[in-house]
Symmetry: C3
Amino acid sequence: MVVLNKLYTRTGDKGDTALGNGTRVAKNDPRVEAYGTSDELNAIVGLARLHAEGVIDQQLSRIQNDLFDLGADLCQPDMEKDDQAEYPPLRMVMTQVERLETEIDEMTAVLEPLRSFILPGGSALSAYLHQCRTVARRAERLTVALAAEEPINPAAVKYLNRLSDWFFAAARMANDKGRSDVLWVPGANRE
Amino acid sequence: MVVLNKLYTRTGDKGDTALGNGTRVAKNDPRVEAYGTSDELNAIVGLARLHAEGVIDQQLSRIQNDLFDLGADLCQPDMEKDDQAEYPPLRMVMTQVERLETEIDEMTAVLEPLRSFILPGGSALSAYLHQCRTVARRAERLTVALAAEEPINPAAVKYLNRLSDWFFAAARMANDKGRSDVLWVPGANRE
Amino acid sequence: MVVLNKLYTRTGDKGDTALGNGTRVAKNDPRVEAYGTSDELNAIVGLARLHAEGVIDQQLSRIQNDLFDLGADLCQPDMEKDDQAEYPPLRMVMTQVERLETEIDEMTAVLEPLRSFILPGGSALSAYLHQCRTVARRAERLTVALAAEEPINPAAVKYLNRLSDWFFAAARMANDKGRSDVLWVPGANRE
Ligand code: B12
Ligand code: B12
Ligand code: B12
Ligand SMILES: C[C@H]1O[C@@H](n2cnc3c(N)ncnc32)[C@H](O)[C@@H]1O
Ligand SMILES: C[C@H]1O[C@@H](n2cnc3c(N)ncnc32)[C@H](O)[C@@H]1O
Ligand SMILES: C[C@H]1O[C@@H](n2cnc3c(N)ncnc32)[C@H](O)[C@@H]1O
Ligand SMILES: [Mg+2]
Ligand SMILES: [Mg+2]
Ligand SMILES: [Mg+2]
């Protein structure tokens, strides 16, 4: 169980830190970059929730909890040894990815069809959901960078990939179901 | 023409994705990092616009459209083969850089002169424009990293370089033309 | 003394720039990444201050000033030659780290004890302080990456390490001294 009682320990003052299994690595290790960015994404979801209520707020709350499951997964290396562990690490499961897919399908069913990119922004909620979307994609890039060096749980990358599409659909919902989205006009300001 | 109808395709679940010309690369490829960060910057401009109106809002809208032109430019590699392409890719042009310069000159003409760094913040609009400024600089760093590996359109880097100076001037304008900006006092809190 | 009169010089249009001592480096040099991210953090502190007043606002103001001291430190390489310099560079000192520790201790004394991670968010101030926390950690990772290549002032990393713990305590304070913080429930949404 995670315990937080004494915040600063000074053990990380030289630039190294501990993973979930106790291994010490540099703070700029790809694994720490990956879960550190998932933590940053989680903070931005907290900003979006300042403008959310009802169903969308509950969904964002679930996503925040999921992002800690994701952090727990990413902070535990050596997943090929999971079955030998006394306490098997918490890993992302495909049902978490599928919940996002179901919700995306529900949103897509009511959204205006789209034939160009949309300028991020509009309502406050939509604007923050676009920020979530782009930071989810940054977290995905760093998780893919980690996966190029060490085996990781495939469901982790899938979750992040789906999550940015979820944020896109939700951002459009928050702009009057996409009706007030403003489209990109390629090369509109070249002269 | 960009079409967005089916959001998730699952093709990127293993960590690779397609550039604008169809080439598949890793999601943490320097090119994807560059346009992904331009997209993140675009989302922050969307946040700033929540606090903008009138001329500054129109200027920010133009910048958002430009940032998609920039993304279109960056997602198309092999610019040396542009003249052989059936449909020449959209590329940033110097008139887009020059528009920023003209607007910076206009703002500088009315701003208070400055003799130290300013603490980012003040009015809400100013605070978000400072965030735009620093994320534009992050996008610039990643675009420069890409340029170190592959030839890119020089106007793309110029645009990002000028853009962060534009955001600086605009952030000061939004603080009573710089009159309410608070200066850095070097080493003020060392004892 | 820092002078800002002509914003754009076009000298950086090819992707290189000057450090504090005049040396030219690529804009994606680890040193520029480090102080550029400290600047981004400073901008986010500016956002948090939109929701702060009284003591916490004063503390955030001091942190903003410190972050420019940090930038001044990081932009001056060759710290081993400091004593030969005509004007010794501004460097972070341990009293700045210790001030943070004192403030963390004060906050911890009144905060609810904690036995799991907390979902970032809640009040507006708390939500933005969590964003500060995660960006401080990103700045720390990039500063550690720099330290792996060149000697830097150990107080700089210590300051960033303590700063993210400071933001964590302050974020909890802004949620009714931690009483309204919502805990992570591991694996709550797996089915
Ligand atoms: C990785 C990590 C993070 C990551 C990712 C975490 C995530 N889940 O998303 C991130 C970046 C988010 C993070 C942030 C922070 N963290 Co942290 N984090 C950790 C670390 C290394 C692992 C936590 C984790 O998620 N483990 C996975 C979970 C599922 O594991 P678990 O709950 O322990 O359960 C496993 C075992 O315990 C075992 N088990 C379960 N039950 C039982 C029962 C028995 C009897 C036994 C034997 C075993 C057992 O099986 C489980 C599955 O493997 C811990 C140190 C540690 N090793 O615990 C620090 C740690 C908890 N973090 C710490 C701190 C300070 C923070 C921050 C405040 C830092 C900051 N300033 O931002 C924030 C708080 C964020 C928040 N919102 O609350 C400190 C707390 C210090 C203290 N004592 O107060 C710790 C202890 C590190 C340290 N030594 O400094 N953290
Ligand atoms: C690069 C890219 C991005 C980048 C950068 C784009 C930019 N301009 O800034 C970023 C990161 C922003 C991005 C974001 C997203 N993207 Co995207 N993106 C692409 C990609 C690879 C290229 C788009 C582009 O800008 N092309 C440049 C423009 C100018 O090219 P163009 O309009 O096609 O025009 C050229 C040609 O078409 C040709 N041409 C023009 N007219 C004609 C006419 C004829 C007859 C012919 C033959 C040719 C032709 O000449 C033009 C110049 O070269 C496309 C896939 C693709 N290859 O189209 C996906 C794609 C459009 N994106 C997709 C998605 C899902 C998204 C996001 C929703 C992802 C997310 N969850 O965040 C967001 C939406 C952002 C938003 N705000 O709307 C999907 C859409 C899926 C769908 N069917 O619904 C696509 C199709 C990729 C995919 N297969 O999954 N994207
Ligand atoms: C590093 C740097 C940054 C970094 C970090 C700075 C920090 N402290 O956090 C960051 C990324 C924050 C930054 C941001 C910006 N910067 Co800047 N920055 C610099 C740079 C390279 C060094 C500044 C610095 O902090 N020096 C450390 C301090 C302590 O040094 P100092 O004040 O000069 O004092 C030393 C010496 O002068 C000497 N000394 C002191 N007194 C005396 C007296 C005498 C007689 C003598 C001989 C010597 C001496 O001893 C001191 C200790 O070493 C300068 C260029 C330069 N070399 O000055 C540009 C510079 C000041 N920045 C510039 C610009 C444009 C900006 C931005 C507007 C860019 C943008 N669009 O975002 C922002 C503004 C941010 C803000 N909020 O105000 C321009 C200003 C152009 C102009 N003339 O208007 C400069 C001049 C660079 C350039 N040529 O383009 N910057
Ligand atoms: C919509 C387009 O976005 C790009 N793409 C796919 N994944 C990411 C990511 N994590 N970050 C940035 N860009 C990405 C690809 O080029 C895709 O086709
Ligand atoms: C004002 C100072 O900011 C630094 N500088 C120039 N470009 C960038 C960038 N993209 N990101 C961060 N810092 C930068 C240089 O050191 C310059 O002198
Ligand atoms: C609380 C946990 O956060 C991780 N950790 C320590 N420093 C950083 C940082 N700068 N960025 C991201 N994660 C970090 C370590 O794994 C630590 O144990
Ligand atoms: Mg995707
Ligand atoms: Mg510049
Ligand atoms: Mg720490």
